[in-house]
């Protein structure tokens, strides 16, 4: 049964690495935000699988539940912060502002 969890963990990790390429080289700022959101969702599944792999699912599932809510709040917060600045100005999405 462990081999199922190990293979699933590896598949999810490869998917996260692929999406990380989009986060690093995304042409627009929204692409990066989308990639971060996808990686967060994959992290939740990864936490659940690692919990069953380590035979302590309850502990890891609590973390996964909290992480799901925090991931959503982070995405919405960043979007609310940038939305007024984005509105009607597509150039603001692409031009990386010096931070």
């Amino acid at each position: 049964m462990d081999i199922v969890y190990v293979v699933s963990v590896v598949v999810v990790l490869v998917g996260m690495l692929a999406v990380l390429k989009r986060v690093i080289s995304g042409p627009t700022l929204l692409d990066r935000l989308l990639g971060v959101n996808v990686i967060g969702t994959k992290t939740i599944v990864l936490l659940a699988l690692i919990g069953f792999l380590a035979d302590r699912p309850g502990f890891f599932l609590d973390i996964a539940l909290a992480y799901a809510l925090i991931n959503f709040i982070a995405t919405i917060a960043v979007l609310r912060h940038f939305e007024a600045r984005f509105r009607g100005r597509a150039s603001a999405v692409t031009e990386e502002e010096p931070s």
Partner: protein
């Protein structure tokens, strides 16, 4: 392996496949809206299948209840954040991709240099934006009328 474990394994494998295909779509699709499509649908369905497989293996218990809660929350929250991302992109004026924008000359013969450049720069210049706004006057994109321009 019991029968339930076999069923759960099938669900986990299906979910892993769907999630991986969603990741491939995020990397390879041509513009932001198509990537959003791959990410939103692939990830939501994939995590639901993986967690459903774990639920089948676990059975009725505390952990099963937590898995149900996680799958339920992600179903709502992922859809909401996908909608918010698409709305932000549309309000910013990001132009949706069309086959005419494709940089690969397999749709209608060879592309001109201007088309090729526009395919790699999917954002609107001034006149294109005015044309898009004129063509979408039926849609009220200005939701509250308060446009803050700090330029």
């Amino acid at each position: 392996m019991s029968a339930l474990e076999i069923v759960g394994t099938v669900f986990i494998a299906l979910g892993g496949f769907v999630m991986f295909m969603g990741a491939v779509g995020v990397v390879r699709f041509p513009d932001f809206y198509t990537r959003l499509h791959a990410a939103g649908k692939g990830d939501t369905l994939g995590q639901a299948l993986v967690l459903l497989g774990l639920i089948v293996i676990t059975g009725v218990s505390n952990d099963g209840l937590k898995l149900v809660l996680i799958a339920f929350f992600i179903f709502i929250l992922n859809s909401t954040s996908t909608h918010a991302l698409a709305r932000a992109a549309w309000l910013a004026g990001l132009k949706p991709w069309t086959p005419a924008d494709s940089a690969t000359p397999q749709f209608e013969g060879q592309m001109s240099e201007v088309d090729r450049r526009d395919a790699f720069m999917p954002l609107l210049a001034g006149e294109d934006k005015a044309a898009l706004e004129a063509s979408t006057t039926g849609i009220d994109v200005d939701l509250d009328g308060k446009v803050e321009d700090d330029a």
